[in-house]
């Protein structure tokens, strides 16, 4: 598992508004790639275009190529539903399904797709996914309780468990820790470290320390001004980006001199 993604000349639009311009980047398999940059520069927009969640918004569309495994995910014969099955996503705010129990939330990908599973099989999947998300010990005695009965950090890990239960190749995370306390944040950072054994991970974060702690590669997005499109300024391995970036803007941003 874990696939390489090649993005080339990707323009991302909301209607007529060009939100992100000409992104070209390579996301290596089984690495953690962090995306950083000021608010509104299009990190979320770019991330959502990697699994075709972008086009869910009316009028939103992209131009360019995103190639995974030799196949352009924006190809005309590609079903976005299949793309999303192999490229999972964790959102900024935890969003467990309120009508489902903890176990049902983990199985949501299967259940909602009407996939039949034997009881033992689904129990095994629940345990494996919750262990994978470092949540098993905390919830194993109350799998039947609603997902919304968990704390925010637990809910976020539940959402991660739900995302990995469908066994994607790639996991996209949009500021997964921004609603969490430092301890839950650490738990999720540790989890990201473990998950990269199996998955390719792309994470958006506003936290420089977090980017430097968890990621192998870092991409810096920036925006020239309001109404202008966001751009990928620079992308390199994380140590280089934080110690010796080639662009002045990157250096200003990562060192906090930015305005």
């Amino acid at each position: 598992m874990g696939k390489r993604i090649d993005v080339s000349d990707l323009d991302i639009y909301y209607g007529d508004f060009l939100a992100v311009e000409k992104v070209t980047m390579v996301i290596e398999p089984r690495t953690v790639t962090a995306l950083i940059g000021p608010s509104g520069c299009g990190k979320s927009t770019f991330l959502r275009s990697l699994n075709r969640m972008h086009e869910v918004i009316p009028g939103a569309h992209v131009e360019g190529k995103v190639v995974m495994d030799g196949q352009d995910i924006y190809g005309s014969d590609v079903d976005p539903v299949d793309v999303r099955r192999s490229i999972g996503m964790v959102f900024q705010r935890p969003n467990p399904f309120p009508t489902m129990s903890i176990a049902e939330n983990v199985l949501a990908g299967q259940r909602l797709n009407n996939k039949r599973m034997r009881k033992a099989e689904s129990e095994e999947l629940v345990e494996r996914s919750l262990r994978g998300a470092n949540l098993w010990e905390e919830v194993k005695d109350r799998l039947g309780r609603p997902g919304s009965s968990l704390s925010g950090g637990q809910q976020q890990r539940l959402c991660i468990a739900r995302a990995i239960a469908v066994q994607p190749q790639v996991l996209l995370m949009d500021e997964p820790c921004s609603a969490l306390d430092p301890i839950s944040t650490l738990a999720i950072e540790d989890l990201i470290g473990e998950l990269k054994q199996d998955y390719t991970i792309v994470i958006v974060t506003h936290n420089m320390q977090q980017a430097s702690r968890v990621s192998d590669e870092t991409g810096f997005f920036n925006i020239a001004g309001t109404g202008k499109p966001g751009k990928l300024i620079e992308m390199a391995d994380t140590t280089t980006m934080f110690s010796n970036p080639s662009q002045k803007a990157t250096e200003d941003y990562v060192s906090g001199r930015f305005g």
Binding site: P38, S39, N51, M53, V56, P58, V81, D82, R84, R85, S86, G88, M89, F91, R93, N95, P96, F97, P98, T99, A108, G109, R111, L112, N113, N114, R145, P146, S148, S149, C159, R162, A163, V166, H206, M208, Y253, G256, R257, F258, G259
Partner: protein
């Protein structure tokens, strides 16, 4: 980028300025003040009316006026303007509530007291076939109402639900706006017009003079569909977009997301809306008069012949009571009571459904 910059050094705190001690709370009227004010108001109003001639309604109104003036005046003098306004608004809100409650209590009382006389086993097990004068029942009307309403629900719920799903999940631009507008127009259609529409529609196929249960059901669904669309639309809009996105991100197709996430999350509210729509049309009389007519015997087939229903049963018992009017009028009241009870049962059902299906917090 403000969030990565070190915070500006704050201005040094200014030296404390000595100030008058803060006073929390003011003098207030005793707890029994409202009671006292209205008791005094009642006495004053009573005395005044004894001079001019007593009437109960006048006394109640005068008591409310005088009592309120006393209470608010006293509050203004003792507690100050803000508390006095608070008391005035409390009085207005409570008063409005009581006024709204008045017709409800009055209707319930009238229907129960007059309908109780024939609220017996015979009423629920006998039809009016061959009954003149005493006895007889509304069994045929009760099953007629249930069948017609059930059919109307069967027609309206799929149409209404799918329309609402279209409007919320798919509809964009002109078409959606046109549909919304038509739904608005439809919800303003007088019920007799709905009846005439169904009558005209079936006349096209069956010729004039046809009276069928299904015609009534069609007429009722014309009234019911806009109610279902509107309530369902509101419920679907309440489902957070994040849940839809969460579902898409798991590789669930849109239609399954709608069925298994959106509708499932909103089902409690939808069920409540549908039940209230049923309760709203179950008492319709005019459209049934022109489409279904009435009859004195049991007819379980909505596709053949006239059918009785509770509202028309009640209506005809009043307007054409026959030889012994007293018995027919008693039956009419009991039919009305039965209708009220049915509506209440539907409301209870709506509560149970929404309890069972609503997302549980713990």
């Amino acid at each position: 980028m403000t969030e990565v910059r070190a915070p500006e050094t704050a201005t040094p705190p200014s030296p404390p300025v000595p100030s008058a001690p803060v006073r929390l709370g003011t003098r207030s009227l005793p707890r029994w003040a409202p009671l006292g004010a209205y008791a005094a108001g009642a006495a004053a109003a009573g005395a005044l009316l004894l001079v001019t001639g007593f009437s109960l309604a006048g006394w109640v109104v005068l008591t409310a006026l005088v009592g309120t003036v006393l209470l608010v005046g006293a509050s203004r003098a003792v507690e100050g303007a803000r508390k006095a306004t608070d008391r005035l608004v409390t009085v207005l809100v409570t008063g409005a509530f009581l006024v709204a409650l008045l017709p409800l209590v009055s209707v319930t009382y009238t229907v129960v007291s007059r309908g109780a006389a024939r609220f017996d086993a015979q009423f629920f097990t006998y039809s009016m076939r061959g009954v003149v004068g005493e006895g007889g029942g509304a069994y045929h009307a009760i099953v007629g109402t249930l069948i017609i309403t059930a059919l109307a629900t069967l027609i309206s719920v799929p149409v209404g639900l799918l329309t609402a799903v279209y409007l919320v999940e798919y509809g964009r631009g002109q078409l959606a706006r046109a549909i919304r507008f038509l739904i608005d127009v439809m919800s303003g259609i007088p019920s007799i017009v709905a009846g005439l529409f169904a009558f005209a529609l079936f006349t096209l196929f069956l010729g004039p003079g046809a009276r069928l249960g299904i015609m009534g059901a069609v007429a009722l669904s014309v009234l019911m569909i806009p109610l279902v669309v509107r309530s369902t639309e509101e419920m679907l809009k309440l489902v957070p977009n994040e849940l839809r996105e969460a579902s898409y991100a798991l590789g669930v197709p849109k239609w399954l997301t709608i069925v298994r996430v959106v509708l499932r999350t909103a089902v409690a509210g939808i069920a409540t809306g549908v039940t209230l729509a049923v309760a709203r049309v179950i008492g319709e009389t005019a459209p049934l008069l022109v489409t279904v007519g009435t009859t004195t015997s049991v007819n379980l087939n909505p596709f053949e012949g006239r059918m009785a229903s509770l509202p028309t049963f009640s209506y005809f018992s009043f307007t054409q009571p026959g030889a012994n009017p007293q018995f027919a009028v008693e039956r009419a009241w009991t039919a009305a009571l039965t209708l009220v009870i049915l509506v209440m049962l539907f409301n209870l059902l709506a509560r149970v459904i929404s309890k069972v299906f609503s997302p549980k917090a713990r």
